[in-house]
């Protein structure tokens, strides 16, 4: 019974962890570094080797494993629980928007936030162990952002700029997000960010979009 319970929530949680972790710089650095140590251990493990190289080989194998797993374990402890994972893509993209996405940038539209076309599609994956969520859409600089729709079963509170859902029926959903720059704004702000923060559960910022 308990095993069934563990199995029912484990894959989604592990999946959310995997999606989050594989996007980090430490993952991108640790995998080739670990491969490097692994290859060195093979060199040290050449046939007819002196005895001391056997120890070197073992140490290199351990270093290779540690390089791979230690950053992942630290990431798990620092960022748990992996309740919600958020990902995005540009909405109705031109080729330039895809290139901007590769650099982690999203284009904004000039005008009133209720009038502009959406800039991004936000995808949300939720662990089945939670029953509700509150996601706050925060912007810094001359930027304002709001969803076009509340996704299934949720409501958008425009006073707090929060998407709220008490009873989740879809654990995987998406919504278009409008990002607008105030028309009268002359520029000059250093930070132009739109963030989505999990204010219901962990208090963590789950997505940061750098706005062009």
């Amino acid at each position: 019974m308990i095993w069934r319970k563990i199995l029912s929530f484990l894959p989604r949680k592990v999946k959310i962890f995997g999606k989050s972790y594989t996007n980090t710089l430490r993952f991108k650095l640790s995998s080739p570094l670990s491969s490097g140590f692994w290859m060195l251990s093979a060199v040290a493990g050449a046939p007819n080797k002196p005895d001391y190289l056997q120890t070197v080989e073992l140490v290199l194998i351990l270093v290779a494993l540690a390089t791979l797993f230690v950053p992942a374990i630290i990431f798990w402890y620092n960022n748990q629980p992996f309740h919600i994972y958020i990902d995005w893509d540009p909405a109705d993209p031109e080729p330039i928007d895809r290139r901007l996405k590769d650099k982690g940038l999203v284009d904004s539209e000039k005008g009133d936030v209720s009038e502009v076309d959406p800039s991004a599609i936000i995808r949300v994956y939720i662990d089945k162990s939670i029953s509700g969520y509150k996601l706050k859409i925060k912007s810094r600089g001359s930027i304002e952002a709001e969803p076009v729709y509340g996704p299934p079963n949720s409501t958008f509170n425009s006073d707090t700029n929060t998407l709220e859902c008490d009873e989740i029926k879809d654990w995987k959903f998406y919504f278009p997000l409008k990002i607008a720059e105030h028309e009268e704004y002359e520029g000059g702000d250093l930070e132009r960010l739109t963030e989505i923060k999990d204010v219901g559960q962990s208090g963590r910022t789950l997505l940061t979009l750098e706005v062009l």
Binding site: S114, A120, Y149, D159
Partner: protein, 125 residues
């Protein structure tokens, strides 16, 4: 009660300021109104004919409804819906686009009819 705006999208702030003008009261409403996606589908479903329908896929592309392989279009986010409403033997074409409404008619009665359907489906609590 009806409120006319340039783009035909009746925002709560505009409705409230119209009420305020009438009642000379002290209402205030912050921010704009974000409807639930299902209510937008309810509005599209209320039309007599769907002429053209485009949706966002989860990866941001815009696809026509006919291109959706599963056929279950209402699982997607609507982008543009060109729809037709029939009322008293007359028809009116309406474009719904990213939460903005354009009614292609000067006939006051038809416009009123569409806006009332829009309000009753989208603002329905």
């Amino acid at each position: 009660m009806l409120v006319r705006t340039e783009r035909d999208r009746p925002k709560p702030s505009k409705i409230v300021s119209a009420i305020e003008e009438t009642l000379n009261g002290g209402f205030e409403i912050g921010g704009s109104f974000v409807p639930n996606q299902q209510k937008v589908w309810d509005f599209i479903d209320a039309a007599n004919k769907v002429i053209d329908l485009k949706v966002y896929t989860p990866h941001g592309e815009v696809k026509r409804a006919e291109e959706i392989a599963s056929g279950n279009v209402e699982q997607f986010s609507p982008k543009i819906a060109d729809i037709r409403f029939d009322h008293n033997g007359e028809s009116v074409e309406v474009e719904y686009r990213d939460n903005r409404l354009s009614i292609n008619s000067d006939n006051e009665e038809l416009r009123e009819y569409v806006i009332q359907i829009f309000e009753s489906t989208i603002f329905d609590a």
